[in-house]
Symmetry: C2
Subunit: 353 residues, 2 copies
DNA sequence: GTTTGTTGAAGATACGTTTCTCCATGAGCA
DNA sequence: TGCTCATGGAGAAACGTATCTTCAACAAAC
């Protein structure tokens, strides 16, 4: 019992291969009668067109690559930060909506798999300067859209948050809440996010005349984060407010504060960049900056598909279209000196029964 | 500047197409001299074999589908639970290691995308009873491996945790810590995980003579979880220990306990099933059951690839090979009446400077 | 001197579509 | 009767690879 091909359908319906193809794809000039007849026969035979053959013929696979930066030898720590997971999910969803599927691939160009899968285009997350892989993809004529400003490689388009503005907003927010010495928990890596955020912090410090107080650690190592948080609060010139650039920083800082007997927010104001909603229920709830990865993932994929399908900016225009997306500061108790009256009341009072 | 095909390489190297193919794939009988010559020319022309053509010819795409159950209209809430994210990551990684790529697809069989991508096999997460999609895949002759016991559909193999044993272990653990009335926070859905776990709980209650105390809610709705947690602790016959089946239950229960003035673990013992490490740093840290999604993802993919490549059990053997994977109970303070002396000391004492 | 075997490589076919080109047929019109 | 036009559909050429078969050349063995 072989899989039915288009030939079998044609034979069974008593028409030509062309007619079957046209009928099924809604092309050509055919009377409705023939169309439905062919469709019925195809259905009866359980005919499924071969994706491989169609791809070979049309040059379109309907597949989009999603490249994830790898830390160390582990291919993907992209679950480490909720940002990646959320972004990937939104990207997958957006792709499916437009009839494409997403393939997650490692950022190391020399993996066998890259040659074995036919891609229509690729989404690259935070490519480093002069990324050889992006260059190679571009040379092959494949559209490439990056999440994060491309270091110095030719991409079709890019999307990013306005990290500098976001940091400034947070620092102002903390200062308004009474912070005098704001510290920063940052990373040692040289990706765009870390660099832009740190630079914005340093610039702000310079402008308001505060001495920078920061600790950096390799962001991919969760243990190092806890140690760095501890180091920051153990300094002789201990900050009275801290912004942590990475997702787990909130809990790490909270734990460190607890160890040192610091009350949040009375003794220490806390903000961290995170997509996780656990910070809504910590004690106290922690103010977070959301980068809105869903929006970014969706936008990136749609830009890419536009490029694939020839919609959007003219290819001749060599200046890649960049797009800045807004962030969202979710203010909770950890960054407010006067905690607002809690508005969420328990469904029932314990003694009410 | 067209993309170079195998023909161009053959012409440039002065050999036939066959020779190029053989040289590049390490087949045929060719002297090393010819081999390296051809390889060099191919490299110079930037030749990349067409994945589509190869797939059409060989019938192998090197692509594996990963099907995720969808709640409501949103295609993927699989980031909701860290389990799915971790599992998907491990699966992706395992696939890449063996030269395959992973495509995430929705579990609704009638999505266009299913027909447009050539799959060598599929991993299905927790398929419901009589899943039509699995049946269809199986009919097409594609290997299908499921994460979770297959309800009643033909799969090549499956992998699952021993949920019943895990629940019993937890209940015994709680009872040993002094719990007299153990409650359960469970789901309304009928998937295998929920069913097996709840049944195990009910069976245990029956055996030890405790009246079941449980609340159920639609697991895909995070708000409902908080409400259900509250409901459970507001009961007149309030439990003195609770096991929550889903990832966010820990924080929800903790918040609810706080509202009712219940101290953990003194007044309430807490355990939940989660892969998230935030529970290591909550106050108090919460005991969790890890399903080890990494191990499951890896195993599932390897079983699938074995089936694709003809390794493993004979296809004639109709009884699908099932495999039970161990879980891991990570005991923390929330489930111990006598909190152990904390062994993790701060790097420096605050006053030490 | 014929057979046998081995090495190196070319020819040709098939994989299953899509699509371009072209051909009947019959109707409308002068 | 001829001509144009629209309609419905068939033929055949790709798409780029892998592989089965064939073949020449030459050496070794009988």
């Amino acid at each position: 019992m072989e899989r039915a091909g288009i030939r079998d359908v044609a034979a069974a319906a008593g028409v030509s291969i062309t007619t079957v193809s046209d009928a099924l794809n809604g092309k050509g000039r055919l009377p409705d009668e023939t169309r439905s007849k062919v469709r019925e026969v195809a259905e009866r035979l359980g005919y499924r067109p071969s994706a491989a053959a169609r791809t070979l013929r049309t040059g379109r696979s309907g597949l989009i690559g999603l490249t994830v930066t790898t830390y160390g030898q582990e291919p993907f720590t992209f679950t480490e930060f909720a940002y990646f997971a959320e972004m990937a999910r939104a990207a997958t969803s957006a792709a499916l909506t437009r009839g494409y599927a997403l393939v997650v691939l490692p950022a190391t160009s020399r993996h066998d798999v890259w040659g074995n899968v036919a891609l229509d285009g690729t989404v690259v997350i935070d490519p480093p300067d002069h990324d050889p892989m992006v260059a190679e993809l571009y040379r092959q004529g494949l559209p490439v859209v990056s999440d994060g400003r491309p270091g110095n490689c030719p991409v079709t388009a890019w999307v990013d948050n306005d990290h500098a503005s976001a940091v400034l907003e947070i620092l102002d927010h903390l200062a308004a809440a009474g912070a005098r010495r704001i510290g920063l928990l940052t990373g040692t890596s040289t990706d765009t996010y870390t660099r832009l955020s740190t630079d914005a912090y340093l610039g702000w410090c310079h402008r308001v005349g505060q001495e920078p107080l920061y600790e950096e650690y390799p962001a991919h190592d969760p243990c190092a984060g806890a140690v760095a948080a501890d180091r920051l609060l153990a300094r002789p010139d201990r900050p009275d407010a801290v912004y942590g650039l990475f997702d787990p920083n909130g809990t790490d800082l909270l734990a460190a504060a607890r160890r040192y007997g610091l009350r949040v927010p009375e003794d220490l104001l806390l903000v961290c960049c995170s997509e996780s909603d656990v910070y809504a229920t910590t004690e106290p709830p922690i103010t977070t900056l959301s980068l809105k990865p869903q929006r970014i993932g969706t936008t990136v994929v749609n830009l890419l598909i536009d490029a694939i399908e020839g919609i959007g900016p003219v290819p001749g225009t060599d200046t890649p279209e960049g797009q800045l997306m807004p962030t969202e500061l979710i203010v909770r108790r950890s960054s407010q000196r006067r905690p607002p009256r809690t508005t969420v009341s328990a469904p029932r009072e314990p003694g009410e029964e």
